[in-house]
């Protein structure tokens, strides 16, 4: 789950991380009110998309009048296909240094890694590819945690000393605590500014591990209220049904058991000249009801002209698959052809059930991919 800037900043503040003074607004009147007394302000569109700065989503205003105007010019417009409904109006601060600071899950070290650089305010990936030596990396051993001495070392390697070293170290410790306690996949401050009053997080990014949402009910609530998501409407519906679904842009519905197998099915269909409409992974051991729900969902997509169900059943039972498919057809009708590849546990029973309904089953993924693509040929 990706939090918006203002949501991330709220959490940062709770952890003692300094943020600029400001407030979330959804009207030009509120923008003017908040700007009043803050001097020059930054007005930032709160959107679930990257690159808003380049798309004009971050602007400045020197007075409440100007703030009202700028807000008016942003609210209700679209940036990168998303409507601007909320703005963060916050004081614009002077600074001497702009840093990048992040805590991210690193697969190779199997732990969080603290990344820090004096090249703040620019795309960190560019820094990583052009001048990687400008990035300080520290892999955190979960057994020891991130201690103040680790943070002092990072701050020192960035070239800081004295008071700045101490305060940056504390800053890093706090960001790590945000990451650890909030089950972050990634949290970033870019830029982290050194102002006359100390370090301040000018921007904030916080992506939470979806697998950990069960232990952050407040976040789930915040996300619902915040209304933020980068899922398409169909994907949101699928998520609400508990389906593992990704929308693609073709016309062949694809359902499989297991993520790798389902990805391979998409690739095989594409190799045979077909265009998958979606990825849907039933997972292992799905019940007939879950199978029905998934297949019905794909059949209900108006773009889908045929559905390919690819099953290699280990803990998934082929007779359950057959029952689920039959239920889906009786619910959604039989106009859209169903091509089924069915192998594995209880496959004889599964095949028997499907064939009795006039649904032929195939043994290999390649044959089935070929069959479903040839069905599209006429269309």
């Amino acid at each position: 789950m990706k939090l918006l800037e203002y949501q991330a900043k709220k959490f940062f503040q709770e952890y003692g991380i300094r943020i600029p003074r400001g407030e979330l607004v959804d009207s030009v009147v509120k923008a003017r009110e908040v700007a009043n007394g803050l001097g020059t302000v930054a007005i930032k569109a709160q959107l679930p998309v990257g690159g808003r700065g380049k798309a004009g989503g971050i602007q400045f205003a020197d007075s409440p009048d100007e703030a009202e105007m700028v807000a008016g010019g942003l609210l209700g417009t679209e940036i990168r296909g998303v409507e601007v409904e909320r703005l963060l109006v916050e004081e614009k601060l002077d600074f001497t240094d702009e840093l990048y600071l992040g805590v991210v899950v690193d697969r190779r070290s199997r732990s969080y890694v603290v990344l820090a650089s004096r090249e703040g305010g620019v795309d960190i990936e560019e820094v990583a590819s052009k001048t990687p030596e400008r990035i300080v990396r520290h892999a955190v051993d979960p057994v020891f945690g991130l201690r103040n001495h680790h943070c002092r070392r990072v701050a020192g390697l960035l070239g800081y000393s004295g008071e700045a070293l101490s305060s940056l170290s504390s800053f890093i410790e706090r960001l790590y605590r945000v990451a650890w306690e909030m089950d972050a996949e990634l949290t970033e401050i870019n830029p982290l500014a050194l102002t006359p009053d100390g370090f301040v997080a000018l921007d904030a990014r916080l992506n939470i591990d979806d697998n950990a949402l069960f232990r952050h009910p407040d976040l789930v609530e915040a996300s619902r209220r915040g209304g933020f998501s980068d899922l398409s409407p169909r994907e949101k519906d699928a998520r609400d049904l508990g389906l593992v679904y990704v929308e693609l842009d073709g016309d062949i519905g694809v359902v499989g058991n297991g993520a790798g197998l389902t990805m391979a099915t998409l690739d095989t269909v594409a190799l045979h000249g077909g265009r998958p409409a979606n990825f849907l992974d039933l997972g292992g051991g799905a019940s007939a009801e879950m199978i029905e729900a998934g297949v019905s969902f794909v059949m209900g997509d108006s773009r889908v002209k045929a559905v390919f169900v690819n099953i290699l059943g280990g803990i998934t039972r082929c007779d359950d698959i057959a029952k689920g498919l039959m239920m889906a057809r009786s619910r959604m009708g039989t106009e859209k052809p169903l091509v089924v590849r069915l192998v594995g546990t209880n496959e004889e029973e599964g095949r028997r059930l499907l064939e009795s309904q006039g649904i032929p089953t195939l043994e290999t993924m390649e044959e089935a991919a070929d069959r479903v693509v040839s069905l599209m040929g006429g269309a």
């Binding site: 697969r107 089950d183 697998n211 990704v246 058991n257 197998l261 280990g314 803990i315």
Partner: protein, 264 residues
């Protein structure tokens, strides 16, 4: 697993001590089970939110390997499990994996037996059912498997390809390897570097799933996600081909390639 020949000697389910399942006694704790039985390893079938405690329990008890089948374990918990395992030298297999199997001998996992037969091909895979698919092709082409390890589909897992390739290098029974990867991360690229650097000298055939993936969306597995330019199927395929690995366009190509590699 019992049917397959695995020596499952005890089960641990808090609150169920005294019960028996298929003749296997159940205990409240691992320590309790160890008081009565010699135990080497452990496999965990536990809901994602509760995996951390029993995994640490198994590690502390000295069991090795510890196989975690469950999908959905919070990445933070996995990091803790792996870090503690490293202190003890324990091998963690998974999470989010089908387990490990030595055809004809034993399995710690959920893979369907019928697709496997004993032979000389080692398999290492991030995926579950795709691995059964490729194993099935290998068996049907008259080859067989020495040992198969499902490392799991999460971004942080106990083993990566290089760890398993090192084992296969030392294993006399393994004469070639099938490597099954997917989008996300750089485990395949690093394996390619390892192979190119001479760390693994036996022939490798591979298949990488996810050529049709959409960037920024995880495709089922938490670890299967293309971020920016990183972790694409094409990038992995190129890296592996540059290292001399035969990478198939279809899952079935892997078995074909292995037949050729083993004859030559």
């Amino acid at each position: 697993m019992l049917e397959y020949g695995s020596r499952v000697v005890a089960g641990v389910t808090p609150g169920r001590e005294g019960m028996e399942v298929e003749g296997v006694p159940v205990f409240d704790t691992v320590a309790g089970a160890q008081d009565r039985h010699e135990i080497d390893a452990s496999i965990l079938f536990i809901p994602a939110r509760f995996v951390l405690d029993p995994a640490l329990e198994a590690i502390e008890a000295g069991l090795d390997p510890v196989v975690v089948i469950t999908e959905g374990v919070p990445v933070r918990d996995t990091m803790e499990i792996v870090a503690n395992a490293r202190l003890r030298g324990t091998t963690i297999i998974g999470p989010n994996c089908p387990g490990i199997i030595k055809p004809g001998e034993a399995k710690m996992g959920i893979m369907p037996e019928q697709v496997f037969r004993r032979g000389n091909v080692g398999i290492v895979s991030r995926s579950g059912t795709l691995f059964y698919e490729i194993a099935s092709h290998i068996s049907r082409r008259g080859l067989g498997q020495s040992t198969c390890v499902g490392v799991g589909g999460d971004p942080v897992v106990g083993l990566d390809f290089i760890d398993v390739l090192r084992w296969f290098e030392e294993d006399d029974e393994t004469e070639a390897v099938a490597l099954i990867g997917e989008i996300g991360g750089d485990a395949e690229e690093r394996a390619a570097g390892f192979i190119a650097g001479g760390g693994f000298t036996k022939p490798v055939a591979a298949y990488i799933a996810g050529k049709t993936a959409v960037p920024g969306k995880s495709m089922g597995h938490a670890g299967a996600i293309v971020q920016g330019d990183a972790g694409t199927a094409l990038g992995k395929i190129e890296a592996l081909r540059d290292a001399g690995v035969a990478v198939g366009d279809l899952p079935g190509d892997v078995a074909e390639a292995l037949v050729g590699l083993l004859e030559g």
